[in-house]
């Protein structure tokens, strides 16, 4: 773990020779424990899965473009919607957000890395291999097909192929990575802030990382148990959800949604955090109502655990349960609304620049608010009896996820790209992409509110001809999906052409940076801060600039900087777990034992062999990039 020499005396490493393991090229990326590189890895892998999930969505919409279409069979369609939802939520959105958190949060709090760099790497590789496991169905011919919600008995007794096993074991594996990441962020934020950075001086992006991570720790653990139960029922003859022996299928629904609802707040809080960085920066004003924003974030996180059964209004829990959950759900609208207004008033009397990052950030506000208000409509239990499992729900959650999280992700991408890669993305391409995406997004999902209201259920592979309005609205919806695809392609082109340009961005790339990441080079040197900075208040970099300084005031003298060594163990451990997962799936005990054996051996090696890392001497310290 990287920190200043002042602590070296607290180590008893004197008897162990430290050395730097020199990895280069691909090995460097495979063994890295540097939060910046791991952040880029998360972004890359997340982007790949985002493209795959997007393609799955295009297939879904192509099938629904015409009534009684035959682009996909019913079975293939059920597989596509399952994979689209599962991949987007677990393998695209969350990892991309982890990518940003990994790269930026330590910089924002003035730290040199996260609390557990090794676990950080392990988290990434388990996510990758879990994602690969989940997608193996494309090669084995049996994909998960019971929806991302996997309700039994459909997902157990009535899905005899391997598809649902890939789901239960693949997500279990990638869930380990998510959990490790959550723990890592919490400890980093609590223990490793620079001197002067109290909790109430942390940037909102860091705050949302903190609250999101708490949600992850509690929600993903419940889901892990649910997946375990699903695995037991499917592979070991368990009876959790077996109605013929007395099991209870509703138990799955409760466990799933106790996870599933916090999951959506896990996805949206980071987007809120991104907005709270981008909008102030490009309005040249501080965030309006910082304290309220922090409390709103915390309340949303807390309430997020109290509302899960609004996904189960039609299950028959009774009027008391339904009304209680209904009221709790409506309450979440209050702190969310507080945030919307605070962003608007941040821009009030500001000087707004509408570059692509800010277009996506501000574009979030009307789109997400529309999604939020349909959420309030859905919260009304008796009305939800009509909405539930119809396209109205599909419209709602895409408005909040695409209009919300995805907009936030695109904003973050354009905003922090220069910090990560030393160059800004092309603005013209970016703006075209923004408008194409916006138009396509509304085209696809606005009509779906109407489709739900006139009676179209969700997860239907086709619809009968001759129902007034169905053909036209489904057609429009599908065209919008194609527009969004073009927009994403433009983004890819943008990245490719940008990476060919010279990396000459300034540290304070946008000129008006407020938070600590903008006080160092773009991209930052391996050790982030030559000297840990002294934080004097909220928006510490902005404060120093207004006081006329060109650099942060240091909180320590220059000295050797301790850095951790990379390690190949996380990759090997993840492969071991991957093998174990396959062994369990196919009931091959030896394979499973082998896989777990690899894991255990690696853990023992890691524990017994002390690796004290190495030091960077003051003479070597200069503003070098990530590839030091």
């Amino acid at each position: 773990m990287a920190h200043a020499h002042a602590q070296a005396s607290a180590h008893s490493h004197a008897h162990v020779h430290e050395h730097k393991k020199r990895y280069t090229g691909i090995m460097d990326w495979l063994t890295t424990v540097d939060h910046k590189k791991i952040g880029i890895l998360y972004l890359g892998a997340g982007l790949v899965f985002f493209l795959i999930a997007g393609l799955e969505a295009v297939f879904v919409r192509l099938q629904l473009m015409y009534p009684m279409n035959n682009v996909l069979s019913a079975q293939q369609f059920n597989e596509m919607i399952t994979m689209h939802g599962t991949t987007m939520l677990f393998l695209a959105a969350l990892p991309i957000l982890y990518g940003f958190f990994n790269f930026i949060v330590p910089l924002q709090i003035g730290a040199r890395d996260v609390a557990f760099p090794f676990l950080n790497s392990l988290g990434f590789w388990t996510f990758v291999f879990g994602g690969i496991l989940l997608n193996l169905g494309f090669f084995t011919g049996s994909l998960p097909d019971a929806g991302w919600t996997a309700y039994p008995p459909l997902s157990t007794m009535y899905s005899p192929g391997e598809g649902m096993d890939l789901y239960s074991i693949g997500l279990q594996l990638s869930g380990i990575g998510t959990l490790l990441g959550g723990i890592n962020f919490i400890v980093t934020i609590v223990n490793m802030r620079a001197p002067g950075m109290t909790m109430m001086r942390m940037p909102l992006f860091t705050w949302t990382c903190f609250v999101m991570s708490i949600l992850i720790v509690f929600a993903f653990s419940a889901f892990a148990v649910g997946l375990l139960m699903l695995t037991f029922d499917r592979i070991f003859g368990g009876n959790f959800f077996n109605p013929t022996t007395g099991g209870n299928v509703i138990l799955w629904q409760h466990i799933f949604w106790i996870f599933g609802h916090p999951e959506v707040y896990i996805l949206i809080l980071p987007a809120f955090g991104i907005l709270s960085e981008v909008i102030p920066t490009f309005s040249r004003k501080r965030l309006f109502g910082y304290t309220s924003m922090v409390f709103a974030t915390a309340i949303i996180g807390f309430l997020g655990f109290m509302v899960w059964a609004h996904h189960m209004f039609t299950v028959g829990m009774g009027a008391v349960a339904n009304t209680l959950f209904s009221i709790a759900t409506m309450l979440i609208a209050v702190p969310t609304g507080i945030k919307i207004f605070n962003w608007i008033f941040t821009m009030w009397k500001g000087q707004i620049t509408f570059n692509t990052a800010n277009l996506f950030a501000t574009g979030f506000i009307p789109s997400f608010t529309m999604g939020g208000v349909t959420g309030v409509m859905l919260a009304i239990a008796a009305a939800d009896y009509q909405f539930q499992d119809s396209y109205f729900v599909v419209a709602h959650f895409h408005y909040v996820i695409v209009g919300g999280t995805v907009h936030g992700i695109f904003a973050a991408f354009f905003y922090w790209f220069p910090k990560m890669f030393g160059r800004k993305l092309n603005e013209t391409l970016g703006k075209i992409m923004f408008w194409l995406f916006l138009i396509g997004f509304h085209m696809t999902f606005f009509v779906q509110h109407w489709l739900g209201l006139i009676g179209m259920p969700r997860r239907v592979y086709t619809y009968l001809d001759g129902q007034p309005g169905w053909n036209e609205m489904n057609f429009v919806s599908s065209v919008g999906a194609l527009l969004m695809s073009v927009a994403v392609i433009l983004l890819l082109i943008n990245v490719i052409i940008t990476m060919r340009k010279p990396a000459d961005a300034e540290g304070d790339a946008w000129g008006d940076g407020r938070t600590l990441e903008w006080a160092i080079a773009s991209p930052p040197p391996e050790y982030n801060f030559k000297q840990v900075p002294l934080v004097r208040g909220l928006d510490p970099w902005w404060l120093e600039k207004r006081a006329g300084r060109k650099e942060m005031t240091p909180a320590e003298p220059v000295g050797p900087i301790h850095m951790p060594n990379g390690s190949i163990l996380p990759l090997i451990m993840s492969i071991g777990l991957f093998i174990a997962g396959l062994g369990i799936m196919y009931s091959q005990t030896i394979v499973a034992v082998l896989g777990f054996g690899v894991l255990i051996v690696c853990m023992v090696i890691r524990s017994l062999v002390d690796d004290p890392g190495y030091h960077i001497d003051p003479e070597e310290l200069d503003s070098k990039g990530v590839k030091a």
């Binding site: 019913a74 079975q75 059920n78 309700y151 008995p153 459909l154 009535y158 109605p243 209870n248 299928v249 040249r284 004003k285 501080r286 309006f288 109502g289 039609t314 299950v315 028959g316 009027a319 339904n322 009304t323 209904s326 009221i327 409506m330 609208a333 209050v334 609304g337 507080i338 608007i344 008033f345 821009m347 009397k349 000087q351 707004i352 620049t353 009307p366 608010t369 208000v373 409509m377 009304i380 239990a381 009305a383 009896y385 009509q386 909405f387 499992d389 138009i439 509304h442 509110h449 109407w450 209201l453 006139i454 997860r459 239907v460 592979y461 009968l464 007034p468 309005g469 609205m473 919008g480």
Partner: protein, 337 residues
């Protein structure tokens, strides 16, 4: 200057155009309630929509004002005032939403409890009880008081309270007739039986849909609710209880049917079976829920149902019955009224 506004206006108008594509069509489903339950639910929906549109207007007006008025002008370099916040505003936009939510919460509580009470009171009240069993991929309806078992098309009397007792035999399904009211899940197993109160105010044939992903045939698991005047309902009951006479020209078909099809199907009025009870089949508009009920389709269905409806659990008989045999069975089925 004009160019700048055109650059903004055109995409905006394009967006609005697409927003409006939803507004052209006949009201149907939820928006066209044909009974008191659906009406009350639509009232709730419209109330919440109205309140939410108010919220949207406020947010949009503020938002568009801000993004237009406070753009950075060229040469504007002085740092704007860094405003920490405003306590009064925070209170305002906390309290007003709470008030708006209260306006929504009160009718929500009333209607939710009311609907539940209506559904649970069927034992003490004069309600028609119909047992619904969701199956992959069709619906079985049993009238315990009348001793009738039927499938796919359920008859109810207009203007009277009906309570559906909901369950499923294989996977989770959900029973939804948008024009009559919201849905309730048909849960598998005996511990989670649901009761759903619906009532039709006008006679008509209302579309029913399955609303829980249940496998390949989920999209095609349609059923129909026939709401008829009481007299007509009584006549229907009487008709269903009177088995169709087997005339000479369908005798062969009846015999083939008894030997081949009775393992899964039934034609006796009160008999439950693995497959749909086919009593009164000739009067049904659809085969398998959505295929037009005529001789050709019926023959094809018997030969190879999987080719017409994915995931269907009925086997095909093209290899075990001859063309003539199938036609005889079709003739027999078309006589069941």
């Amino acid at each position: 200057m004009v160019n700048r506004w055109m650059k903004r206006l055109v995409p905006f108008m394009a967006m609005m155009l697409f927003l409006l594509t939803g507004c052209d069509y006949e009201l149907a489903g939820v928006l066209s309630p044909k009974g008191p339950v659906a009406e009350r639910q639509l009232e709730l929906i419209l109330l919440s929509l109205g309140v939410m549109i108010l919220v949207l207007i406020v947010v949009f007006v503020l938002f568009f004002t801000v993004i237009v008025r406070f753009r950075r002008k060229p040469g504007q370099d002085e740092i704007p005032e860094q405003i920490e916040g405003n306590h009064k505003l925070e209170v305002t936009w906390t309290v007003i939403p709470i008030l708006l939510l209260t306006i929504l919460a009160i009718p929500m509580v009333v209607v939710t409890f009311n609907l539940e009470d209506e559904a649970q009171a069927f034992e003490t009240e004069d309600a028609l009880l119909i047992k619904v069993t969701g199956k992959q991929f069709w619906w079985e309806f049993e009238y315990p008081a009348q001793g009738i078992v039927t499938a796919q098309e359920v008859y109810i009397p207009v203007g009277e309270k009906v309570v559906f007792q909901l369950t499923a035999s294989d996977v989770q399904h959900s029973f939804w007739v948008p024009e009559l009211g919201g849905k309730k899940d048909t849960n598998v197993g005996n511990r989670n039986i649901n009761y759903l109160y619906l009532e039709a105010e006008y006679p008509g044939v209302y579309k029913g849909k399955c609303a829980e992903l249940c496998g390949q045939g989920h999209a095609l698991m349609d059923f129909k609710v026939h709401a008829v005047e009481r007299a007509e309902f009584d006549a229907w009951v009487k008709n269903m209880l009177t088995p169709a006479t087997v005339t000479a020209d369908v005798e062969k078909g009846a015999e083939l049917f008894d030997n081949t099809c009775l393992t899964c199907h039934a034609v006796d009025p009160g008999q439950l079976s693995v497959g749909p009870n086919l009593n009164g089949f000739a009067d049904r508009a659809y085969i398998g829920g959505f295929i037009e009920n005529n001789a050709d389709n019926l023959a094809q269905w018997i030969k190879d149902p999987l080719s017409m409806k994915p995931g269907v659990t009925m086997p095909g008989f093209q290899n075990s019955l001859t063309e003539e045999e199938i036609n005889e069975i079709v003739k027999y089925l078309q006589s069941l009224n």
